[in-house]
Symmetry: C2
Subunit: 456 residues, 2 copies
Amino acid sequence: MSQVWKDYQEKNKDRFLNEMLDLLRIPSVSAKSEHKTDMLTCAEAVKKSMLNAGCDKAEVMATDGHPVVYGEKLIDPSKPTVLVYGHYDVQPAEPLELWTNPPFEPTIIDGKVFARGSADDKGQFYMHVKALETLVKTNTMTTNIKFLIEGEEEVGSPNLGKFVAAHKDLLKADVILISDSSMLSMENPSLDTGVRGLSYIEVEVTAANRDLHSGTYGGAVANPITILAKMIASCHDENNHITIPGFYDDVVVAGPEERALINKAPYDEKEYSEELGVKELWGEKGYTTYERTGIRPTIEINGIWGGYQGEGAKTVLPSKATAKISARLVPNQSSHKMTEKLLNYFTSIAPASVIVKAFEHHGGEPYMTPIDSKGYQAASKAVETTFGKAPIPVRGGGSIPICSILERELGIKIIFMGFGLDNDNLHSPNEKYNIENYYKGIETIPYFHKFFADMN
Amino acid sequence: MSQVWKDYQEKNKDRFLNEMLDLLRIPSVSAKSEHKTDMLTCAEAVKKSMLNAGCDKAEVMATDGHPVVYGEKLIDPSKPTVLVYGHYDVQPAEPLELWTNPPFEPTIIDGKVFARGSADDKGQFYMHVKALETLVKTNTMTTNIKFLIEGEEEVGSPNLGKFVAAHKDLLKADVILISDSSMLSMENPSLDTGVRGLSYIEVEVTAANRDLHSGTYGGAVANPITILAKMIASCHDENNHITIPGFYDDVVVAGPEERALINKAPYDEKEYSEELGVKELWGEKGYTTYERTGIRPTIEINGIWGGYQGEGAKTVLPSKATAKISARLVPNQSSHKMTEKLLNYFTSIAPASVIVKAFEHHGGEPYMTPIDSKGYQAASKAVETTFGKAPIPVRGGGSIPICSILERELGIKIIFMGFGLDNDNLHSPNEKYNIENYYKGIETIPYFHKFFADMN
């Protein structure tokens, strides 16, 4: 079978790439209301691509937010069904001035496609569309394939839970397959065995009812930036342990065996630091880098602003300061409970000289998938087939908030088979996806379907 | 004499107001290079207004930055000379969305002129131009009058020192008179006996060489916002005492008598707090509000930014965070020494996981003027004449960096005769100047010249 796939893919590789580039040209930024029309345009393009690839049915389906694109190619009800999840929305591209090329004009340099969404997740979910095309056009389908491509992953999938609950029959499957993560490297392929959860809040501190002259009032009225800084500083102790009451309460502490497994992944601290341009890493005392990003919860300040940010100097004592703050969660922390804890923490520690407003942006539960499942085994075998090396199971640091909801509503497990790399600049300027990884993904996915069908 | 002044001013009051409004329409923001042409336009308008008012000579004089406007009306070399200092540049108007009316379209509501620069300092220095006109047109000049109106006060007067040193003869005078401050209230007029000094720096913290995904890297790489917040938080202890090494070293500690005098000024904490919309004030333990803003040095964070600041949520671990930080200084602190201390503090406390760049924006020395001088006595008598009440001597919280330089270069004392109010929203959205105060200033200034001439 492999030869017919290879031949078909080789013959169509330029078109496969160009179609992906077309998708990247649509600025489908879900967080910003000004891109509402682009979101619809992108959803329609995804639908069309599914039909072109060989789906019998594809549909843009409304939600209370940005629509979902559903597609399917069903061959036989007795065969297993794979539900492919992905997302066509992307992160905001700001800060724009740091992009070498415009974020929505994909540019190929040294075998890499630079564009917002190239790796996260348009380039990755589109591998599944092209894998389906390969299977359909070579008449080698062994599973039923369904697509659930949403438009709100980057804003926490606020409407997908309701959508899935309302379409359980439509989405019925035996396994969920997601390519929205990375592997260690092309030489050391890996499969994620879980993702961290997320609690994302915003905290606004208001002191005086207006900006004040820092000379006339400085020293007598609270400075909201100083107060917010004190609140942020209070989140970590000198060992970078988080000090928010109850923060670690529900954390499942990893045992020596699990920690040993995590630390077996190839890791070179010098190389890791140099690639990031830092002299020293920074994290919770007593844990290695992969433990810090995999099995430990964290608090990050994602953004902060207040007062004068322009050229030169302005002697203002500002009225307001605001921060976007998020926690990454591990099993068995609950996003809902953590959000409550965070909101409560930031409102309760504020002095009476300021007013604090804190609200939730979104959240998602941590998720783990067992490595002894048929799905994981099929993915592992598929990667081994095309990479020549069995993938290392690792814990992913990112979050896909919908995972726990998908499992709960559909009663099936999720398999993460990501083909990105950690240095793809996800959520950053100059996001890229290596063309080699894109093709490797399209090559690998058909094997997943074959092995999964064989096992069932 | 008073009746002829009164008659002249009454007859011309509408024009006096309209001319001030015309000046406010020019967006002379010295901090922003995009306003370079506006700065020149404004300087020319100031020059023209001096000639129209009766100056024999007025000139726009180049500096290495924005030009100075010099004007003079000399009547007799044997008479005393008053040098009026003011500035035609204004603070940036941002955040624009908080202005009820556009900052450079002066709007009159309830007897107040709302516009950037209305009180600081166009409306205030222009009182002197109209006072000169009053004296010239009523043939009642008793002093020689010189104007030194600069265009860089809001950026720390970086070029005025050199200008003054190069034009000592031109600027020769017996006293310097400045209206660039406020009084307690119309019912409780006051005169400032000093201004605080200033050290203004910017601190930029860089962690990784690019924005990162907060899931993939969160927990393993320093967050520059967290680090900057810790650095800012470390500046004050729990009593809001500043903890930067050596910060208070050169402070002249006010004795019980001076403190008693400061606290004699009418003050209602409830009213003060309510006007600012705060439940509680915030400041250094052991000092009253007027002490905190008058005789104590402070540190304020004037601005902060880093990471994602847009709509919604972005799970980014930012590369950079930046803050604008300034200290207000009191006698005998040195701005130069303090700037060194601040730069050193912020670069030395940073962990090795980040790179800190810190640089100076500008600074200025604190300044005190004795209340037994002829100039202060003339000002006090002038205010008493028109307000019916002797002004209270108070310490101003703001800074006029050029004061110490003017005194050093010209060998004469500065008198602060401000007619603004603390709630004029200086440096804030909706800056305003009460028309009543404007007219009261124009009414009072001729008396200053008369009394100062009488004493000499």
